[in-house]
């Protein structure tokens, strides 16, 4: 029985929580209710058997226990009596068994956790906690911050939701594009946090990318929009290279040197299909375009056969949709390969001069690489050294150090 309940917890607890949050209007109450509901299940189901619809049973039980708990506490605090009464009556709709309203509740939860009135790092923390069910410790560990700091962040976010009156709802049609952007951004942030950490790092970081992909799948199931497809495709294509990105010794392996036989073909197939679908819809945006670039890399059997002309073309389009300096930088690198290092440098130097990327180690290592290819060794060394001062990631530092050594 214990195993059955655990299994149900794994598959249903997030959905139950989302619905309880809607019914009770409060994160903490809902979490308590979830806990109480599962405790009750462990007690009752051995005797009564597992209910036909466990989710509905859990929601109903959780809600009842929460209201009951409020009533008991109301004896000491009158304001809670009113709250309990409101929940009893306005119980909105009775917990429905159907999937549609449950999926609506999960969407509501995602959009609420990613509300623009919350700080970006609070959005990320709250989403991982409430939507993905990660513990505070797991999230703190993944982002390399102390658990008390992370816990505070979540507490403050929940307080903001309560005090400022952030509603638990799916945004209206006209606001959906903007609000969806924020959600996609949060998911991408989580993915990158897991992606840029190389192995030899903790398992938790790999799980972050997996978590982001899971979130992407959930969002796609709830909202089949082009950019959601684009983001999921991009993440799958990036993830497909994970095994090849680090050597057995934990060293960084550049794209052009990766053993492509270690790329995950299933993820590539799925990712590419999603990107194609997104592009076909004509409502695509930056994520689909980045996905398309990743797909061009993925379909090249070797680094030498990569269609760089197509990649530059895609960057041209991407730069119009997202004129950020990082996009310009990546485009410059692609131009440097298609047209030669001089051309690449001619684009990178003004970007560095403009200042926005002056503390971005990848900008300096890109410059260094181009200088190296042109035989401008002194400049290459300076740029690699600048890059070295700007990154704290061990495998990256070792890579840069090796590059510097190879110049001598």
């Amino acid at each position: 029985m214990r195993e059955q309940v655990d299994a149900i917890y794994r598959t249903e607890s997030r959905r139950v929580l989302a619905t309880l949050i809607r019914l009770l209007g409060d994160f903490d109450l809902a979490e308590e209710a979830l806990h109480d509901a599962f405790a009750a299940a462990l007690e009752r189901w051995p005797k009564d058997g597992v209910p036909g619809n466990p989710r509905a049973w859990l929601v109903s039980t959780g809600r009842f226990k929460a209201i009951d708990g409020l009533r008991r506490r109301a004896r000491f605090d009158a304001s809670l009596a009113e709250l309990a009464a409101r929940m009893q009556n306005g119980g909105s709709t009775l917990p429905a068994a159907d999937d549609e309203s449950v999926e609506d509740d999960r969407l509501r939860l995602i959009f609420t956790c990613c509300h623009p009135a919350l700080q970006p790092d609070a959005q990320v923390a709250l989403t991982l906690r409430e939507v993905c069910g990660l513990t505070t410790e797991e999230i703190a560990h993944a982002f390399l911050i102390g658990p008390p700091t992370l816990a505070q962040r979540i507490v403050r976010a929940k307080a903001k939701i309560r005090d400022a009156g952030i509603p638990y709802q799916i945004p209206a049609r006209e606001n959906l594009p903007d609000r969806l952007d924020t959600v996609l951004h949060v998911i991408y942030l989580v993915f990158n946090e897991g992606y840029s950490a190389t192995s030899g790092g903790s398992l938790t970081r790999h799980d972050l990318s997996a978590e982001a992909i899971r979130l992407g799948r959930l969002l796609l199931a709830l909202l089949p929009e082009a950019e959601v497809m684009g983001l999921l495709g991009l993440m799958l294509l990036s993830e497909s290279r994970r095994a090849a990105r680090t050597s057995p010794e934990g060293e960084l392996v550049l794209l052009e040197e990766q053993d492509r036989s270690r790329w995950n073909r299933e993820e590539i197939a799925e990712g590419s299909a999603l990107v194609e679908q997104a592009l076909a819809s004509r409502r695509f945006g930056p994520y689909a375009l980045q996905g398309a670039i990743a797909a061009v890399h993925a379909e090249a059997p070797t680094s030498a056969t990569t269609d760089w002309a197509q990649i530059v073309g895609l960057y041209d389009v991407l730069a119009r949709a997202d004129p950020s300096p990082v996009v310009q930088l990546n485009r410059a690198v692609a131009v440097g390969i298609r047209d030669g290092p001089e051309a690449g440098l001619a684009l990178i130097d003004p970007i560095l001069e403009a200042g926005e990327l002056e503390n971005y180690h990848l900008a300096w290592s890109a410059r260094a690489d181009l200088c190296r290819r042109l035989g401008r060794t002194t400049e290459a060394r300076e740029a690699y050294q600048r890059a070295l001062t700007l990154t704290r990631q061990e495998p990256e530092r070792r890579f840069l150090a090796r590059r510097i050594a190879s110049l001598d």
């Binding site: 304001s79 400022a164 509603p167 945004p171």
Partner: protein, 117 residues
């Protein structure tokens, strides 16, 4: 829920407007106010005189001091406010985004403390 929408803007922007532009802005504010009265959001709204007319009062250790001007020099200055009743923050944000000077200034949306809680 009640919210205060604090209307911030660079004063000199309004100061540099021609009489026609100013007229147009004022009439936009009037329409907006009418709209939110109709929709039941409006509780109160006022335009403030410019910051140079402000006086700041502090009492420390029983001593009162008054200084000429706002409590702090800021890039954007408080020019007015609306107090509104809104369903939730999203509703309040919608209202704030329609304040005419949101186009070039900033509207701070602050929930009002519910004393009955």
């Amino acid at each position: 829920m009640k919210y205060l929408c604090l209307i911030y803007g660079v004063e000199s922007v309004v100061g540099a407007m021609s009489p026609t532009e100013l007229q147009s802005l004022m009439s936009e504010f009037n329409s907006f106010t009418e709209d939110i009265k109709q929709s039941g959001h409006y509780i109160l709204g006022q335009r403030l005189q410019p910051v140079h007319t402000a006086t700041t009062v502090r009492v420390r250790n029983g001593k009162m001091s008054t200084t000429d001007g706002p409590f702090a020099e800021t890039k954007e200055q408080l020019g007015g406010f609306f107090m509104i009743e809104a369903r939730d923050l999203n509703d309040a944000i919608q209202i704030a985004s329609r304040v005419p000077s949101a186009r070039y200034g900033s509207i701070e949306v602050r929930p009002i403390w519910d004393m009955s809680r």
